[in-house]
Amino acid sequence: MSSAFWVILAGALATYLTRIGGHLVISRLERIPPRVEAGLNAVPAAVLTTLVAPAVLTAGPAEWLALIVAGLVALRGGLLSMFIAGAVVLLIARQFMA
């Protein structure tokens, strides 16, 4: 076994710890306090926003156009249709915009 294998294994164990750790801590509580529950309910929107916002800031007009169209499609359609709409707009806009 090379040393890289052991480093990867340690990284894998550390990662698993982060994936199960939050649950292990929360499940120790008998009852989830209302404010903690409110915080947990806010996790998805909060986390997902952080995966989009900086990318929007560093992107250009082609990406913005794709996000706007995809965002509008998302108001009516499902996830897959908004994704395809955004990808198609991006593909076309990249050919014409820098």
């Binding site: 340690a10 982060t18 801590v25 909060a46 926003t49 952080t50 794709a66 990808a87 991006l90 990249r94």
Partner: protein, 255 residues
């Protein structure tokens, strides 16, 4: 817990098959979006001195794109081994939030299934699971695995292809693959727009993550931005968050 476990076992294999395929279909955009990153990771891993086997081993056991990229970057720089492991831990620390939030919904599953599900808990998997719950459907093990296993296999398979054939892949930015994940994540953000406090949480997290991205750097913007949005929900009075008033979501899930 035992009762719920028996419930899930009593469901016929036919319906768990259709549950699995439903999950797989829902996770299809993830498979498309992660493929270029899997190829890229495989390519870069080999360029940074890992063997093909080590690259695949990393994708199969860490299964976290951003942390793997940081890992191979450090492998290339002759950094102390414990620093590499610690960096992977730091980049992946955000999963603590997902784990805390999603654990409530997996609590009825047998322990081994829970342990396996947590192993596959990525950004996208977390978001898919939450959006299933949001839409009032029951999050079954088969449905969860339908999305999780397909994206896992895609990730490992594209790593293999990238590691072996990486040098042959042309520049993919012209066809826009590098920006597919932000589009996908925007769709998931929109999925949660009916939740209480959605707009203020999104606004605070957006500003905080952009500031953190500028002044602290990636990947900390994810954790810091998310914590700012979550802190807002904790600080505001519980009545504003819809807790107590209408716990519809919790009821649906227990049903």
């Amino acid at each position: 817990m035992a009762g719920q476990a028996a419930d899930s076992r009593s469901s016929t294999s036919k319906s768990s098959m259709s549950e699995f395929w439903h999950g797989a279909r829902f996770g299809l955009p993830v498979c498309i979006a992660v493929s270029p990153f899997g190829l890229l990771f495989g390519t870069l891993a080999v360029e940074n001195g890992l063997s093909v086997l080590e690259a695949v081993f990393m994708s199969a056991f860490v299964f976290g794109g951003a942390s793997q990229m940081v890992g191979i970057e450090l492998f290339g720089q002759k950094v102390a081994p414990w620093m590499i492991a610690l960096s992977i831990f730091a980049v992946n620390f955000r999963h603590v939030l997902y784990s805390a939030a999603i654990g409530r919904y997996l609590a009825g599953w047998p322990l081994a299934r829970q342990a396996f599900a947590f192993f596959l808990l990525t950004d996208a998997q977390y978001a898919l699971a939450e959006s299933q719950i949001q839409s009032g459907r029951k999050l079954t093990f088969a449905r969860y695995m339908g999305a999780a296993v397909t994206s896992y296999l895609t990730w490992v398979a594209t790593t293999v292809i990238g590691a072996i054939f990486g040098k042959l892949i042309p520049d993919t930015s012209a066809i826009g693959v590098d920006f597919l994940l932000p589009i996908y994540f925007l769709g998931l953000v929109m999925d949660f727009r009916k939740r209480p406090l959605w707009l203020p949480v999104v606004a605070v997290s957006a500003v905080a993550s952009i500031l953190a991205y500028r002044f602290v750097g990636s990947p900390w913007h994810v954790l810091l931005g998310a914590l700012a949005g979550v802190a807002l929900a904790v600080i505001l009075p519980p009545s504003r968050s819809g807790i107590g008033a209408a716990p519809a979501q919790a009821v649906e899930n227990r049903a």
